[in-house]
Symmetry: C2
Subunit: 204 residues, 2 copies
């Protein structure tokens, strides 16, 4: 719990294995597919949602128990069977050689998949280290209000100003002053002010 580095990892087309076929396995599969991973599910039995993904060709499905060679090449393995001992066994086996998440214990394995909130350029995550997945979900819902469409447009403005500054090759001092100035709440609140500021900067 104490030594966890947060990373955003590009997993597009990376080979990821989910062991287990229940609802929890399905949720993890969805998280991985959303980021473009190449997902293989290994389980003797699977829920209808996973069955459906397999039929649609969105995942590869292997109907048997997981075996050592299944994980050897995986970038990330999720141990999500309904048997916590089995999950633990997989985690222990893999934790020194590759990324492994134990769905039945936040302390086993060597990585966690925190709840993720994405809107425009903003990417927030929340983990309660095993305290309450329900609270994590609630916090995400609160963020939906706090970081509303206007806020996201404000972040786009910050990005555009930053890009423009780089293009204009302004001095570090001037750049830094501008990047500090636009953090003022006035720009967060008013799309008009943002527009005026950007136009002014264009003509600098």
């Amino acid at each position: 719990m104490t030594n966890m580095l947060s990373l955003l990892v590009d997993i597009k087309d990376k080979y990821c294995v989910v062991v287990g076929g229940g609802k929890i396995a399905y949720r993890k599969v969805r998280m991985l597919l959303a980021e473009g991973a190449s997902v293989t599910v290994i389980s003797p039995e699977v829920c209808s949602e996973i069955e459906e993904l397999s039929k649609n060709g969105e995942i590869k499905l292997v109907r048997r128990k997981g075996m050592e060679e299944d994980f050897a090449e995986a970038f990330l393995t999720v141990a999500a069977t309904n048997d916590s001992q089995e999950n633990r066994r997989i985690s222990q086996q893999l934790k020194s050689i590759s990324l492994v998440n134990d769905a039945s214990s936040y302390e086993e394995g060597n990585c966690q998949l925190p709840a993720s909130f994405k809107k425009g350029r903003l990417h927030l995550t929340v983990s309660t280290n095993g305290a309450s997945p329900k609270l994590a979900k609630k916090i995400k819902e609160e963020w939906q209000h706090t970081y509303d469409d206007n806020y996201i447009a404000y972040i786009d403005f910050l990005f555009e100003v930053r890009t423009l500054i780089k293009k204009k090759s302004l001095s570090p001092e001037v750049s830094d002053a501008i990047l500090g100035e636009i953090l003022d709440d006035a720009y967060k609140e008013s799309a008009t002010l943002r527009h005026i500021y950007y136009e002014k900067l264009l003509n600098l």
Copy 2:
């Protein structure tokens, strides 16, 4: 930017390499050390802060330019020289074989190190995908107020209740009802109510 999976990764004692010796390199080194990584810095010249870390034996310092063999065994490499072309070269070389973060571009490399907020069991992260590191810092400061000491104690309460439920082996229906019930704001607000609830549960 679109295909990033958020992970919390245990990097205790993992071999991590930071190429570059300036302030940005130093900031990354600190993030890695905070999570217990084994850090090697590679740079012909370094700032006084990195010099100090080396003197104290907290990092290994190699005073020359980075070479291919330096990164071959690394779990994570951070390319943070003051030459964005050099950073890009390192990122391109490593992105298919290991984790690599390009400090001069959020689009190169295959992972980002988002700003991290930790308090008790709560671990939040924020990335603006290159829009504004200053805003990310500001959001972290706001979280410091939103998730105050009482909130963190509330999360501890959620954890204790969840642990107790597991110990008592209650039915999934009863467990789920309890875990939903304690999300009520009343328990977030009152330490007394939390105490009463926990005592009642103990005697269930």
